[in-house]
Symmetry: D2
Subunit: 374 residues, 4 copies
């Protein structure tokens, strides 16, 4: 019962890696939004396997079919169902995993929880499940861009020990897409690509960090006390496969500063209350403050490696295992649109929630405060 995300803009994904199809139902989408399948395909293509030398070679076109919820190119306000057929499934490649648990995969835990698992591929735990999220996220990004003027942009910030220098306030989509690793710092990108290719050849893998910035977020998004904006962002991105950590703004580094260094002083810019620094990452008290929302997500090295590993079999005996299936030596390049999708889903949901409770789109509080302070 954990396959639905969002309170007002509600996304339900379905599908296993090697079942018939994967997809999503988006319920609560505003009506009269222009939407067609091409709007979804751009991000699905960025997520797609087989797109470059640093991704898995599994060949999937990942074509999105909208089977409900639109009419003459516009959303109806009814559920938008999107289906993507699995085409290049090769269950035989997984036969050796039927009886043996792949280390740091979900084989053992799915077996423990459900007493059954689809051992042909990763089943529901496969990154293939994220197709539905990315398709829904494309809708969410379109709403944010067209209705609220908000832009979501993620990029690879670090791979293993290779850290990129990126200005989150200025980085552009074209910079991110300028290379196959999706790191806008081209020098770092070249080194990252070289490292990932070496890992691929070694049968090993690496992880790293994706940063995501949301620009043009109005003040007022987030619902204390449990549905604070950073709490929902954390939940969203940490529900992606292979994630191990989340930070907003100054994150863990900020915990090494004093309050007098870390507080963001307020100032006034063109009549609007702004902060001079952004250690807060655009969120204060669980509510957006109008500055850029900046989050970072840590991804572990891909669990699937070709090297031989110790494991146990389903009869409770020690065994060894070595992957032969297709896999990504580093998940980060393909995870960039996944992170964007989750951030977009959270922001759209909170936009709509804000309008529900507060009756107006979020806006800067200056005008009102004047009255309030009389």
């Amino acid at each position: 019962m954990g396959s639905t995300f969002g309170h007002v803009f509600r996304v339900t994904t379905f599908g296993e890696s090697h079942g018939g199809a994967v997809g999503v139902v988006v319920d609560g989408c505003p009506p009269r939004l222009a939407l067609n399948e091409a709007d979804l395909q751009r991000d699905l293509d960025r997520r797609r396997p087989g797109q470059s030398s640093v991704t898995t070679p599994r060949a999937e076109a990942d074509r999105a079919h909208i089977v409900s919820g639109t009419f003459e190119g516009q959303t109806l306000g009814s559920p938008i169902a999107i289906v993507v057929w699995n085409e290049d499934a090769r269950p035989e490649a997984y036969a050796s995993f039927k009886d043996r648990y792949r280390p740091s995969h979900a084989d053992f835990t799915y077996e423990a929880k459900y007493g059954i698992r689809n051992w042909q591929g990763g089943g529901r735990a496969s990154a293939r499940e994220t197709i539905g999220r990315v398709a829904a996220g494309a809708i969410a990004k379109k709403i944010l861009a067209e209705r609220f003027g908000t832009e979501i942009l993620a990029y690879v910030k670090r791979v293993h020990g290779i850290e990129a220098a990126i200005d989150s306030a200025r980085v552009k989509f074209s910079d991110v897409e300028s290379n196959i690793v999706r790191c806008p710092d081209r020098k770092a990108a070249a080194r990252m690509i070289a490292l990932i290719e070496r890992m691929r050849d070694d049968g090993d893998s690496v992880g790293g960090v994706i940063e995501c910035v949301a620009r043009g977020v109005p003040p007022g998004l987030g619902d204390p006390v449990f549905d604070k904006l950073e709490a929902d962002l954390a939940k969203g991105v940490l529900s992606l496969p292979a994630t191990k950590g989340f930070e907003i703004g100054s994150g863990f580094d900020g915990t090494r500063l004093r309050g007098s260094e870390h507080n963001d002083p307020f100032t006034v810019v063109r009549g609007r209350v702004r902060t001079k620094s952004n250690f807060s990452g655009g969120v204060q008290g669980g509510i957006s403050n109008g500055e850029d929302v900046v989050v970072r997500v840590g991804f572990k090295p891909t669990a699937t490696i070709r090297k031989k590993q110790e494991t146990a079999d389903v009869r409770g005996r020690r065994a060894t295992i070595a992957a032969s299936g297709r896999h990504d030596p580093c998940v980060l390049p393909r995870a960039v649109p996944m992170v964007e999708a989750m951030v977009a889903l959270v922001l759209v949901d909170h936009h709509l929630r804000h309008e529900a409770q507060c009756g107006t789109p979020p806006r800067t509080p200056r005008a009102r405060s004047r009255r309030a302070s009389r």
Copy 2:
């Protein structure tokens, strides 16, 4: 509408820092659990202000009153409402904040979202709101301990640059409570206390990291794909005030390892499938694997400091501000029971969810797998 947490074990908190009362309603608690007010008070006392030289001197007894949901010392299965009256409110200490936003507080964002705020104290954004969570968490911890054999233990892992050496597998509650900073490494604790006291005297503040371990967690908790265990844990703890980051298991450090170094090999110990290492932090594919669940939470330095700071007023003019109210120079000692509460709430909710869908308490999958593999 963000004041409810949990899907089956549902917690709704209420109350402002300087309103009449704070509290919580716990709906979905199993019936026939022995419960009285003393069960709640231990953790409320650990959270209480004024408990030591490193906490705010605000004098609140924080006595919990159970006003519904129990009968003759047992839970009824109906909602348990718990009320704690605010006693030592001093709204006059906050008069200067009526018109000026405290930097890195929620004053500005609440004003932006709701167009109104209770400027007497932090209102709903005050850490005082966590009283309800801690009371509910005490119930959750009791259920985990008595029914499921699970122990939750949090402690201060780092303050500013002072890092403690702690073995999460062996640390004991009495070690945590042996000093006022709640760091079981006594040498580090002494240095932390000295630093916090210096900050207090300087009118400044520091942050740090709290680690929390859950021991005795069965395999099977967590609901892919959105309600993965780590996703819900992250949401839970990042909904606490002053948090900036979350990690599970190897966390961000793990992103610097290769897959061959990071994967947790399976082995078999006394007939039970176990992992030899625990980089996964007890969760794989969003579901607990029976190992210790280990998470870390980054807390920023307290926003309230006595030093003079730049800010803006509610009329949109630049101004300066300096806190005179009572506050914690470091929130971590009091945040320890808050983190435990959120982890406990997530685990209980997933225990009950597991029984709902799978019809049995979670258990190790060995027996079943034998059958399955025939």
Copy 3:
């Protein structure tokens, strides 16, 4: 886990008949609504026991205490917690029910479900639980009246076989409150009062039907396909104690008409699309159409009677029982504000949901349709 109602305007009640207190937490209330305790008391007084010769003599002042969520007479947007203390509890009157199940009460089923019950009074199944609903409903009615121009009015339509003649389009609050049975047809009211008093003297009870009209409802409320307006209205009122049936518009009588008789023809009145009849009861396809919403609720005769009845005891032996506690010979007069409360809660929730998804307050579709039909 069934004590929360509503998706955006969320109401959580707590409290047993003979515990310390009953009350409610309202989360998601719009901010900056003028609200004080007197706003709640009017409806609580209409619900209060001991108000007349046709109600139970239990003496409860039922004073509402708002303990959070307001500041200087306005709502903050944070949870509004309301507490009412139980004062005239007389557990000793229930001692004989400790071991015997009262027929058609919830004693047996609570015991079956939870394995425990508060036998002192009806516990959670007591109509006393509805205090929280009525208080929350008073807030909802205030929002509907002040922000959306919607008026909710319920009244007794039938007691036992005595049916009143009432024009739902014109009936006024003062008519309803003109007599103790809350039936605006004064002749019928007099007969109803006489009948109820006879039942009271006989130690017996009667039921009947309450009708509720919502006037000034805009078109557009309701969320197909599961959260249709009539579906949520039915759930709301059938969650009240003692209810056995629900109808909207033509209800069961309408099932005896032909389509050509039952369809509501559209017409145009002052440029606005209206229906000439209202068999639909103001809802078509699960969405309000701008006409009056009219629903009826059937209440069974009160289960508590003084006459001797057959029953079983908790050891599974046959027994007899006769109530000696205080009770209502007919619940309808006090149930009128309860029905209004549930209808108001549903309408407010759907108003806010509509704004969430559709971004604007509901309005008549004329203007838009012109454009759409080009």
Copy 4:
């Protein structure tokens, strides 16, 4: 955002009458349930158009495709997505409704709410949407039958003025399916069929009442105070198209009895506490009591008729309209599996919820009560 039903066993439907497909995602289904497409088809065939002379002639095979959530004939515990393609859509038949609202249909209200509608067929308001419910209901009925020993059976109780004599305690599935109107009283059935055929020929329509009984329901299902069993049953069935009323047990007739006549005396049968009558309809205090759950649902006469009717057009002008599309002269025969589906979905959800909170399957309370009464 109203397309999801259930709290633990969660059903999300999608699809318009004339879009590409309709279907459902079932999340939270217990794992290891034997399930294949044939299990769904039986009820889909009972719901299918074109099945007899008393239903619409639209020719749809309504073949269910399970595209996720099963593996080797068993459920995985992951979301089960089911897709049914629309094949015999004839949008041209609806061209005249593009600009004119069909009376007592959802055309006007969808336009009012969303500012857009799919005028080709009933869109989301079409009974075609119920395909997803019926498929999900088939899964729910399978769980109830196999795991909990509960049987759900609905049948036509009345058409227009023709009332059938049926013993809800003894009626069998084969009786219901013995004729095309699904009324187990064969004499009444013959008269109903004749009436519906006359209505069909007249271009008119009739409504009526469906009764549904659930046998073998254990005591303990239902979650006071808002999610009482009858409240959720009412919501479920009143979310079906064309419904106008709901009753449980004695229903509206029961409101004409005295308490001394209406109360169900308890007795003891073979050591188990039972009631001698069942005016309660199997539910007391919102919780099942182990007796048969009996509900009735009123369906209005089909809104689509061939007779000429007054209406308004989308420009706000008066107009006339007469349906030429295919439609059912009486919806009841095809609505029987829809009612069963909704009742089954509610019961399964409450079964799983009960296990979540109470930790055990529901059971008769006798044993426990012995202990409790010591």
